[in-house]
């Protein structure tokens, strides 16, 4: 506890602690994880905020994400450029939102972004089909997929535009008490 670390300044760690759901120790540990993804690219000294981004391919190689069918969408939703390149801030942000303490509303916003494959701020039928195929590893027949998509939109669409907007999604999520416990990645 008493050894001086030179990766971040104290103010930086305070800022991270205030803006995310992690403690100082966890931020340092996250930096360690980020560093070991690409030891040559990621500097050990973050005091002057270096501009270093890791590509999607490296991030989805992490054991926590490797087998997750939504891994590319998860990383893309948290990257500023939409291509999946994460800086350390975005990396921390991603695991902060996916941690245990993030509130339901925040998780719902990002879950919506993750499931929105064509990034049009609506969950349309194609998004649902892609989600289902990823969930079931394409075990369902196409008629079943069709049926499930129809029924899902039927159940959750409140304003009748045949797509799920964010409000529809959030309304549905509020009825699922399991969402908070399943939408959680422990790092």
């Amino acid at each position: 506890m008493g050894n001086k670390q030179t990766i971040f300044t104290d103010e930086q760690l305070d800022a991270y602690q205030d803006c995310t759901f992690f403690t100082r120790k966890e931020i340092l540990r996250l930096h360690g994880r980020y560093h070991e993804l690409a030891p040559h690219l990621v500097p050990m000294d973050y005091t002057n905020e270096p501009d270093c981004k890791l590509p999607l391919a490296l991030i989805v190689d992490m054991p926590e994400l490797k087998e997750n069918p939504f891994r590319s969408r998860i990383v893309e939703s948290f990257s500023e450029d939409g291509m999946g390149n994460l800086s350390f801030n975005e990396f921390v942000d991603m695991f902060s939102v996916l941690s245990e303490m993030a509130p339901r509303e925040l998780k719902a916003i990002y879950a919506f972004k993750i499931y929105d494959f064509n990034v049009d701020n609506y969950l349309c039928k194609e998004d649902l089909e892609k989600t289902l195929n990823k969930l079931t590893k394409e075990e369902l027949t196409s008629e079943e997929v069709e049926l499930v998509c129809e029924k899902t939109i039927d159940e959750a669409d409140l304003d009748g535009d045949n797509k799920l907007s964010y409000s529809d999604f959030e309304n549905m999520i509020s009825r699922a008490p399991d969402f908070l416990s399943t939408f959680h990645i422990r790092i």
Binding site: A15, Q17, E105, K113, N121, E155, D157, D159, I185, R186
Partner: protein, 834 residues
């Protein structure tokens, strides 16, 4: 949920805005007819060459549409003769909402609609949070007039400015950001942190906001005098944060829990988390008992009786023998105020004066406080868990929830993910199967048959349970009489009753599982609940008959061989705990390890045994009930329970990782966790506290041992103290009489129970009202959706009207439209409020 609306097309054409909102039907029909006429007349394919141009005009951030341009001829095909038609037909043939038909101006306006920028546009988020922080500030300042009643933080239209103007969004952003920073600065530190953490912005922006907010705070702070009170508060907050981060980093068993959740998912994890919770309860009990009872008594040891037995190995199992005259049991504790200790080597009382400690009072109050605090913690965690998992309206969106919320992001291992995918696939197929109509040969016969099978199964389970309970009753009586005859109780024979009870607890759930398998329930959740209720029924009746045996028979019989019935009951509970632990070990060994070896090597099946979460959690609850029952009679029992739980954690963890696979049936974690906490609170804790209260209230303590000897009941110790206080200090006598009146008068209890019931009734009425409001709001949302469709088509038709006239007038059009929009929004606003 989308309903098609039937429009009556017989009303005449009416201009919008001039019509009163009350006459909505007239307005609706007229526009529908207008749209129908317009779309019939115009050539829609002119909009197509707008396509790529329109897209380039859009901002990169506002590219919300996948702009698929389908070739024109499909539209021609899809446009047969459209004469008079209903809206449904209209909707099916040519949906007025297809984006391909819209002009670039419409698209631009639509893409900056608030509902499409939620969570996406940084400006929209900042303005939304600006309003939220403003509301929070107002709420904190507690001005009821200003308070905006918004419970949910759902992004609503009210929270946005209704101008769709995005031209000066940059400057609007800046001012909004300043406002947000200002609001943040005026909140308290914890509120500010909560707001910052909850914002769906990227971390860089959040850090910048935080910096700006704290900069301003520094400026204002340097100018104003620092209040010493706020400085003190700041110190406390800082120390609380460091303490909580310390606790958080020392999370117990973090790595094993992560491994379990990575392989088995959230269901099995919940069992281990429940174990951890129970461990904390016992640690708390142990600390309280240890500090207030065990430690003082150990410091002031009383006179040791002459016939104290020496230590032999059997004590660890039976708890009797050497242990019976130690701090472990009730009988050791003194009934006087401790102020000197007895030196066993010199056989004399020491003359050193130490601080005095009223043992009976301490015993009484410690037990009372421990139970009271445990009750509060339990009820709090139960209500929190209940609040998370209870939903007021019936859940209709089963399939939607299954699609979006069933993927367990915690699962990491490849095989487990494969299993999870298969699970979800199976569940989806089952749900689809349920939705299709069932074709039975004869549904009535089928139902009757199922009813008969269920009745038989229940009858069998109840009969077996009753039989076992009666068996325990007579066996315990027999053992009691046997021990009486023999004089001193033989050490080993004391283990007979615990072994019998543990055997019953082990074998009967297997029988219940078999019955459930025969019954073949359709719905897996019903099967889980039925299994749970049968197991619960068994355990409750077993514990009931045991409590009768201890408190009704042993305590009141006053036999010779039991000098001190409280210590005896404490020993019995110790034995029950230990034997239960041994049997759990055996069950893990045989049920899981050997079964896996058997099915691997001999049956050559790939499937490993499943980890039965419900049964294991019920076993934990049973053990905890025994511990709570025994706290009064054996203050060190929580320590035994702690050791047991620690060992159980590691054994179960290794067994699960080696031998089991994840449950195949779907397991609703939140609901089950709530049920388990409720079971821990209601039958378990309530039952044990009722027994303990009964023991303290009505049973006469033994004459020769314990802190309450020679009193009528244990409760009298408290009354004695009150009387003593009243005698010493005359001013406290009204307190004593008030206490006597409150505790002894049953009217007080009746009134309390009556008030409690009334409060529950009020809350249920509130829930009913909220359900009604929810259905009304859903109707409302549907209507708003219709409004939106109407506005979009109207907008598009206006654009299409004005487009052929002149290109150079497009700017004029857009400004005109923006002028139109506020009128729309006024109408919109008035119709929503009306």
């Amino acid at each position: 949920m989308a309903r098609s609306v039937n429009f009556d097309l017989n009303h005449p054409l009416i201009e919008y805005g001039l019509e009163s909102p009350a006459d909505e039907e007239g307005v609706h029909d007229s526009f529908n007819q207008l749209i129908a006429e317009q779309s019939q007349n115009e050539e829609m394919f002119d909009t197509f060459d707008q396509g790529p141009l329109g897209r380039r005009e859009l901002d990169k951030e506002h590219q919300d549409f996948v702009y698929t341009s389908s070739p024109p001829h499909t539209f021609r095909e899809r446009e047969p003769d459209r004469g008079e038609y209903e809206l449904e037909e209209y909707g099916e043939q040519t949906d007025p909402l297809i984006p391909e038909r819209w002009s670039s101006d419409t698209l631009k306006i639509l893409s900056s609609m608030p509902s499409r920028t939620i969570g996406r546009n940084r400006g929209a988020i900042i303005s939304q949070y600006c309003n939220k922080t403003l509301q929070l500030r107002r709420r904190r300042q507690s001005k009821p007039a200003d308070r905006v009643f918004s419970r949910s933080s759902r992004p609503s239209i009210r929270a946005y400015d209704l101008e769709a103007d995005t031209t000066d969004s940059e400057s609007r952003d800046l001012t909004k950001q300043d406002q947000l920073v200002n609001n943040l600065q005026n909140l308290s530190a914890s509120d500010r942190e909560r707001m910052l953490r909850g914002m769906p912005l990227c971390l860089t922006v959040k850090k910048k906001l935080r910096e700006l907010a704290s900069q301003k705070e520094k400026q204002t702070r340097s100018s104003s005098r620092i209040n010493c009170c706020s400085h003190f508060k700041l110190c406390i907050i800082k120390s609380w944060y460091t303490w909580s981060s310390f606790i958080h980093s020392r999370q117990m068993w973090k790595v094993p829990l992560k491994r379990v959740s990575g392989r088995f998912g959230t269901g099995v994890l919940s069992y281990f988390l429940f174990l951890k919770t129970l461990l904390f309860f016992n640690v708390f009990l142990f600390l309280v008992m240890g500090t207030f009872l065990v430690l003082p008594q150990a410091v002031y040891p009383p006179e040791v009786p002459a016939n104290r037995r020496s230590f032999s190995g059997l004590e660890l199992l039976t708890g009797a023998g050497y242990f019976s005259d130690t701090v472990m049991y009730y009988g050791y504790y003194c009934n006087y105020t401790l102020h000197r200790n007895y030196n066993s080597s010199t056989q004399a009382w020491s003359t050193v004066k130490l601080p005095s400690y009223n043992m009976p009072l301490a015993y009484f109050f410690t037990i009372g406080m421990a139970f009271f605090i445990t009750c509060i913690i339990l009820v709090y965690s139960m209500s929190k868990s209940f609040g998370q998992s209870f939903r007021i309206d019936k859940s209709y969106s089963i399939l939607a929830i299954k699609t979006f919320c069933s993927w367990d992001f915690r699962v990491i291992k490849k095989n487990s993910i494969k299993l999870l995918s298969e699970n979800i696939c199976t569940q989806l197929k089952e749900l689809l199967g349920e939705l299709k109509p069932k074709h039975g040969r004869n549904p009535w016969l089928e139902r009757l048959r199922r009813l008969m099978v269920h009745c038989l199964a229940w009858l069998m389970c109840v009969a077996v349970t009753t039989g076992c309970v009666i068996g325990i009753y007579y066996f315990s009586d027999y053992m009691h009489i046997e021990n009486q005859k023999q004089g001193a109780a033989q050490e080993a024979s004391l283990l007979a009753l615990p072994v019998l009870v543990s055997l019953i607890n082990l074998l009967l759930p297997g029988l219940f599982n078999f019955a459930a398998w025969v019954e073949d329930y359709i719905s897996p959740s019903v099967r889980t609940y039925v299994g749970l209720s049968r197991n619960l029924m068994l355990k409750v009746s077993v514990l009931g008959v045991l409590c009768y045996h201890w408190l009704g028979r042993i305590a009141t019989d006053g036999t010779d061989y039991i000098k001190c019935w409280e210590s005896f009951v404490g020993q019995e509970l110790y034995r029950f705990l230990i034997v239960d632990f041994i049997f759990t070990l055996l069950d893990t060994l045989f049920g899981e390890l050997l079964w896996r070896l058997f099915s691997d090597k001999i049956l050559k099946r790939q499937r490993k045994p499943e980890f039965d979460i419900a049964k294991n959690v019920l076993d934990l609850i049973y053990g905890q009930t025994l511990a709570w029952l025994g706290v009064l009679f054996s203050p060190l029992l929580p320590a035994v329970q702690i050791l047991k739980l620690l060992l159980l954690f590691y054994i179960k963890m290794s067994s699960v990782m080696m031998n089991c696979q994840a449950p195949r049936r779907p397991y609703r974690v939140s609901q089950m966790t709530t049920i388990f906490i409720t079971l821990l609170c209601f039958p378990s804790f309530l039952g044990s506290s009722v027994c303990v209260t009964y023991a303290m209230w009505s049973i006469k303590p033994s004459e020769s041992c314990g802190p309450f000897r020679r009193l009528q009941t244990m409760l009298k110790a408290g009354k004695q103290w009150m009387k003593q206080l009243a005698e010493e200090n005359a001013s406290l006598s009204p307190l004593a009489s008030a206490h006597a009146y409150l505790v002894e008068n049953p009217l007080f209890l009746f009134v309390g129970a009556g008030i409690f019931l009334i409060v529950i009734y009020f809350h249920s009425q509130v829930l009913d009202g909220q359900r009604k409001i929810i259905t009304l709001l859903q109707e409302h949302i549907k209507n708003e959706g219709e409004d939106k469709k109407f506005l979009i088509t109207r907008l598009q038709s206006i654009h299409e009207q004005k487009r052929p006239s002149a290109r150079k007038l497009t700017n004029q059009d857009s400004t005109e439209l923006q002028e139109d929009k506020p009128q729309f929004s006024n109408y919109y606003g008035s119709s929503t409020s009306g």
